[in-house]
Symmetry: C2
Subunit: 414 residues, 2 copies
């Protein structure tokens, strides 16, 4: 049995929220409050900023109903942050941790947050302050190294899959009036989320018809050719595009131009980068003369409570609990990982990866998860991702649509 440090445990949430990051918080808090070892169970108010400002929440004062309700409440109940720390700030954090007898630090976040946790652990070790640190993975982007996938991804993937099914049906119904719908997903460098749009697709007619990922260079010519081809075949085109796609020069498509505005003097002023979907909508309209619109759910894809994946919720809770259990086992300097167990039934258990190996690394989609043309995820990707979205996706029916024989005089097509 490992020797146990006597002290407080502090937990924080960091980076972009997810639909299930509060389930991880619940896992940490439930496990920690069950242990008499911890002098206190504290929360960082808005992540590491709460440490700097010494805004620490006493989590033992929360009632059990609130703690239970964390599972299912999206975003970050403790508040989150995006804050790049200076070395003076790392020292400040240790100062605050020492003042409150914090000997256990759990940080829930993405790769930047794992770096933060790693740096705190390193500084503590260098300055001779005994402390154990554990990271808990979180990101809808699914881009963390050394874990099969990340909590948060399954729910965002479920959201994108269902949204694509629904918006695609809407477009198909309107195809005599509208031609192209472009759904923009998050994902600055990795295409995991945009790729999830295919998870409800059963056949060629089902949406999406084209998916563009940051892992492949985006060519406007090829895109227009793709859209033209699908439109000719189906009469409508559902496109899903990651916000992070770039051209051959490495320039973000979404940063190219916003809509032009004119100022009081009639001078054209270009608005700030409004994202890739509006740009592509204009491109399609201008170059192909097709009627296009865009959907940009924005933060809804990472916060949608009703699209949360049951598998994701359970795993998010599990990695939170596991972090505390590993601390109690004397371990430090790790991020809890998810390890997929063998088929046929999908199952996951937890593992550990060194914080410094996760920190600042980025897991992109491997080549075998993308088709040769670079405009659609592969079957292998679907097999990987489908279990993560939890329960079955909606089953939308399609009418057989048997046309009756014509009896009226011919009518000239417009």
């Amino acid at each position: 049995m490992a020797r146990r440090l006597k002290g407080a445990l502090v937990v924080g949430q960091s980076g972009g929220p997810t639909a299930v990051i509060n389930a991880s918080l619940a896992g940490v808090v439930d496990a920690a409050l069950q242990q008499a070892e911890f002098d206190a169970v504290l929360g960082l108010w808005h992540g590491i900023e709460g440490a700097l400002k010494e805004e620490l929440v006493d989590l033992s004062q929360e009632d059990s109903q609130t703690l239970q309700g964390l599972v299912g409440t999206p975003a970050a109940a403790l508040g989150s942050c995006r804050h790049k720390l200076t070395s003076a700030e790392y020292e400040r954090i240790l100062e605050v941790f020492k003042a409150h007898g914090v000997r256990y630090f759990v940080y829930i976040g993405g790769n930047d947050s794992m770096d933060t946790a790693y740096q705190v652990a390193k500084l503590a070790a260098e300055t001779g302050y005994e402390m154990q640190v554990m990271g808990v993975p979180k990101t809808i982007d699914n881009d963390l190294a050394l874990t099969d996938h990340t909590p948060g991804y399954g729910s965002a993937a479920r959201y994108v899959a269902i949204s694509t099914m629904d918006a695609g049906r809407d477009l198909a119904a309107m195809k005599t009036f509208e031609d192209v719908c472009i759904l923009e997903t998050m994902g600055r460098h990795a295409g995991w989320l945009a790729a999830a749009s295919v998870l409800g697709k059963r056949d060629e007619v089902d949406p999406p018809h084209l998916v563009y990922l940051p892992e492949r260079t985006f060519s406007e010519e090829q895109f227009l050719e793709d859209v033209r081809r699908v439109h000719r075949a189906l009469g409508h085109v559902m496109v899903v595009v990651s916000e992070g796609i770039r051209d051959a020069d490495g320039q973000l498509i979404g940063a190219k131009t916003g809509p032009v505005q004119t100022d009081a003097f009639g001078h054209v002023t270009v608005a700030m980068g409004l994202g890739v979907a509006p740009y592509l909508q204009n491109l399609v309209t201008r170059e192909l003369g097709l009627k296009a619109r865009f959907n940009r759910p924005g933060t809804l894809q990472r916060s949608c409570s009703i699209a949360a994946s049951q598998v994701d919720l359970e795993e998010a809770y599990m990695v939170g609990r596991a972090a505390v259990e590993h601390l109690l086992a004397g371990e430090s300097g790790f991020m809890v990982t998810l390890e997929r167990l063998g088929s046929p039934q999908y199952r996951c258990t937890t593992g550990l990866a060194r914080l410094e190996q996760v920190a600042n690394a980025e897991k992109l989609m491997p080549a075998e998860f993308i088709n040769e043309e670079g405009n659609m995820p592969s079957r292998a990707f679907v097999e990987y991702a489908l279990p993560l979205v939890g329960g079955p996706l909606p089953e939308h029916v399609r009418l057989k649509g048997a046309l009756v024989a014509k009896r009226a005089p011919a009518w000239p097509e417009r």
Copy 2:
């Protein structure tokens, strides 16, 4: 008992799809297939365009599983259209209807579609062709006259309410990094949908904080002042804005960013432009120096299958069935309406309104449903709209967040 015409029944779907318009179709088809009176039960492929092209679907050939699955499948299973008919086209429609012995016409749609149904009925009467016509209401905009509300609205309202709750939580969690989130809803002239964003709001902190509706003139100065005030009080501002807001000169705010398009009816379809949310995001950033982002779910708000309201699904089915029952009772020239029955329990029954009274009329939000400042729906609106979203909205918890006493040296705020 009314004398019954012997002939076929034809049903069509028209205008922007909804999450429940297929439930209305199911109601019509279920009721019609039970009746031996109808020689055939036909569907118009893409609305009235299916009549012009003589593309008529034999709905008796659909299997029962598909018909059952219509309830829960979003968009328009028969296909929809937006088509402004010429007088030659009205004659063509009658020609096709006569060729197939159509004596019953059910058209599911909004006010333009009710006008189409009315014109078909009128031409039939003028030319001595015996036919009965019935309209079934449909629109997420809830802007049809003479009905308590429209099928489609409850589900879109549920979507907007939940999306606002979720995105608002996301923003609150990120408030040390982001300041303003702008959610753009549909609603070209009526604010019913944007107003629905308040249905999950329990207190001042809950989102949304500001709601702008087309019923009130939009002032950029007042908007910026509102945002500044809320930001000072809460540190973050969740704004919901209808795509149709206009300035004092009647100019669409959303048209300031990019080209607007017009549909076949000459209506400006703001959704095809780049919209109001990107414009306001730029405005907030430029004028207040606040970090802003926008969510624009677009067609997701009218097609989201997992946000469908149970009440809405049931009522949509009910009005479809009622249309056939009224036809069998010999009635013609009406739209089926929803009539709210007394409290305390919400209940609705169906009624009838003359097609020509619904056609081209538009029901805006009454003054008592909007607060004096014009930036928030009223309590009376909530009482009206809350029953329509069906089951309870998600219950998001909020931590008490009891801060522990400070013990570390003070840290200078940046």
